[in-house]
Subunit: 210 residues, 2 copies
């Protein structure tokens, strides 16, 4: 049987995370004070800091949940090799986007991104960047698998193109969360136009239709 202390620890940590999610979504990350979280989680301010080193850590824990789910879904998509690259890319990335507001509000995303940029060497920042790298690798893997199937011109540098595309989709996501008025639809439309521009070229190169 688990020791009392171990159970209490897990329970307190869960309560703190749950309270934070609730409050962050309701009132915004910035506006919520540690004191508020402590109150809802029924612990003291000091205890919150026993479980999470900073307020930002709590937020990044929520981001990690979000991204892990998206990555898992991405793995599933990658498991069945794509029929058409253009559609597969659109599907993968759209899924990233569609899932993004499940746990986090736009304001929470902004705060998380700001954190990861401002303090890239904290455990937080490192974790955030690792998640990004795994997403990037997924996009690159999809392109590589398309190339292996002859869907993509074999002369293309799929790693570089995947890098290019991932960077862009990531930056577009930054702009999406930076603009409360921007819809998912608008975001996906912008993505779509870039995918068209990219893949139209590939096609012409691959089939020699110039």
């Amino acid at each position: 049987m688990t020791g009392l202390r171990t159970r209490q620890k897990a329970d307190r940590k869960r309560r703190i995370l749950k309270a934070s999610m609730l409050l962050f979504r309701r009132s915004g990350y910035r506006h919520v004070r540690i004191e508020d979280i402590a109150e809802v989680a029924e612990v003291s301010v000091g205890t919150v800091y026993n479980y999470y080193a900073t307020k930002g850590d709590i937020l990044i824990a929520i981001v990690a949940m979000e991204v892990e789910e998206v990555l898992a879904a991405g793995e599933a998509l990658l498991a069945t090799p794509p029929v058409a690259m253009r559609g597969a890319l659109q599907a993968l990335i759209s899924h990233y986007y569609d899932h993004s507001l499940n746990y986090l509000s736009k304001e929470m995303w902004r705060a998380a991104m700001a954190l990861s940029i401002e303090a890239p060497l904290t455990p937080n920042g490192v974790l955030y960047h690792q998640l990004d790298d795994r997403l990037r690798a997924q996009v690159q893997a999809l392109l590589a698998s398309g190339q292996a199937q002859g869907e993509v011109d074999p002369r293309l540098d799929t790693d570089a193109l995947g890098d290019l595309l991932f960077n862009s989709l990531n930056m577009m996501f930054v702009e999406f969360v930076s603009d409360d008025a921007m819809t998912l639809e608008a975001l996906k439309l912008r993505l779509s136009r870039q995918l068209d521009a990219m893949t139209r070229v590939w096609a012409s190169a691959a089939h020699g239709t110039a």
Copy 2:
């Protein structure tokens, strides 16, 4: 003749900005307290806030100086239409990168980016995004001019491709400033690989060499 008050105002504002640049570069944005700036600028804390609404405003003012210079140099490059698109893009973007550490340290860039993301609606955030948009427009204009000259396949959507490329170069810059060990060389190499991947395809499309 200018009133005394007007002159004093300009003088104080300049002193505050100068003191801030000095201190930010020497000790890092985070580490510098408004009190330190006030002391070096020989004004009180309250006065600093009379000229800049927040600490971040001072930083963004420095960023704006930096980016305005880069934009001006970019205009010059655009004035003489490119001979080879690949080289022109590399030259334009390399210039952005090379100039970037003239006024700002990596740590200052990180702080500025974090600010602009976290608070996109403040005058600060808006200004930062406008600067970004002007840079983006420059990349797109270069591509468009290359297309007008027949350097780039006329069927390509240069706005979308410019958007794609700009997003990527911007995100790579984020990663550059997030990693104190990363050199400008490494950054430009990564860019170069993406440009190769992009332009190799265009060339084959444009010249029908597939």
